[in-house]
């Protein structure tokens, strides 16, 4: 059961806080992580559109497998500039 650190931004931070730990099944992917978060926080449901992920400071796809100690960033649609 790897423990993953989740960091969230903007709208998602308002729901999840800036950062939290979550324990996942072995071989869990980023998609599984998101599903687990939505289960805990139903308010995340509508916030999937345009969402991007990064693992350990690199953008990654939802199929990325996670390991103990990974840090996953949840990146809602950008608004910089």
């Amino acid at each position: 059961m790897p423990t993953i650190r989740v960091v969230a931004f903007a709208r998602l931070r308002e729901v999840l806080g800036a950062s939290r730990q979550i324990a996942l099944a072995d071989d869990a992917t980023v998609r599984d992580l998101w599903a687990a978060l939505v289960e805990t926080e139903p308010r995340l449901q509508g916030l999937e559109s345009g969402l991007r992920f990064a693992c350990n400071e690199r953008l990654c796809g939802a199929e990325q497998r996670l390991r103990e100690g990974d840090e996953v960033a949840l990146l809602p649609p950008y608004g910089g500039g």
Binding site: A10, A73, Y78, G79, G80, G81
Partner: protein, 143 residues
Amino acid sequence: MFAIVDEPIDPRALEAAVRTPACGGVVSFCGVVRESADDGRAVIGLRYEAHAGLARASFVEIADEIQATMPEVRLAIVHRIGELAVGDIAVVVVAAAPHRSEAFTAARSAIDALKERAPIWKEERYRDGARAWIENRCGEGNR
């Protein structure tokens, strides 16, 4: 020259950092907090958040891509985060090049790419007390 900062940005310092004696044209873009939102609502300020590591990496990547086609261009990209008031500078892009055409093209490309690719978020705060996260519209290169 590529940074996320939480203090006011000094465009002149960035210009000095990128200019060389070979540069004949320097184009600076400053994105400034304006008093009204796109829907016309009165804005009193903004708050920016960023994934600092990824955002900085995206600035470097954007500059690398531009320099791949225009090797003589030199770039600086800095975005401020935190609370900003109307009139504050949120982002500065500086492009210096031997000739003006490359400098204009590079500065424009860099800010367009930043809006699309940099993990930065903007919350508008309105005079009526409301606030909202504003997303850059995709492919909206002409705003």
